[in-house]
Point group: C2
Chain length 145, copies 2
């Protein structure tokens, strides 16, 4: 069973309805190769035959995030992007300074996973670290041409 059906089944089992909008937004997210913003999602949904109001998209994304099925990706340009919750692997993002395109990468050793350093930060800053975000900025292949 593919990811899309796993998600739909999980939602149905949780007592949630499988509406047109929900199925379409999940399909769009499953087919995406990079995190998508709500405006992108609206266009993509329309392109596969399901036009929905933006409110619905925002609420659905919030819902899927709450269900732990989708992750919010904040790149800093003020647009909230979403991707399917990464399964197991810890990954980060590449953000193009020109076109804002976002790609995914995996990094060998990330400070965010170094218990000793996190511990040090928490002690010196009086801050409880629960998560981290590592992003690389630069130019994507297309914008470098």
């Amino acid at each position: 069973m593919n990811r899309e059906n796993v998600i739909l089944t999980e939602l149905k089992g949780g007592g949630y309805r499988l509406t047109q909008a929900r199925k379409a937004i999940i399909q769009v997210l499953c087919e995406a190769r990079a995190p998508l913003g709500a405006p992108d999602i609206i266009v993509l949904m329309a392109s596969i035959g399901t036009s929905v109001n933006k409110t619905t998209v925002y609420r659905e994304l919030e819902f899927l995030k709450g269900q732990g099925l989708v992750a919010e990706v904040l790149v800093g340009d003020g647009l909230r992007r979403y991707e399917l919750m990464p399964e197991g692997h810890h990954h980060h993002h590449l953000v193009c300074n020109e076109c804002s395109a976002v790609e995914c990468v995996e990094v060998e050793s990330c400070v965010g996973e170094d218990v000793r350093q996190i511990d040090h930060i928490e002690k010196t800053s009086d801050f409880k670290v629960t998560d981290h975000s590592l992003k690389f900025f630069g130019l994507c292949a297309r914008c470098r041409l």
Copy 2:
């Protein structure tokens, strides 16, 4: 000579005017202990006796950023924050999930400075890395009470 005067002198030398608004915004940034957003800056400027239009603040921040005197800090909540350009030391930020407060921290070894890993990323992703951003999310001291 303190940082504030160094900046003012540098600007004057560059042929730029030392206006009330400019002096006040620089003062506010110099006195800040953490990155500030434009709305915060407007309030702080008013509190030291210089009320300015928001357009002025946005344009001034853009100007100071262009002069390399101020750095933009993107935390992901859609608000652009600004801090004096860090001198020499490479630092990162702690972002509170509750109140969005931002603090600064220094990290021992950051992937963003590991030439070997950057090289690896550029080769496997066909992306030219020019910068990076590492942020830790969690709860600040106040929100943990």
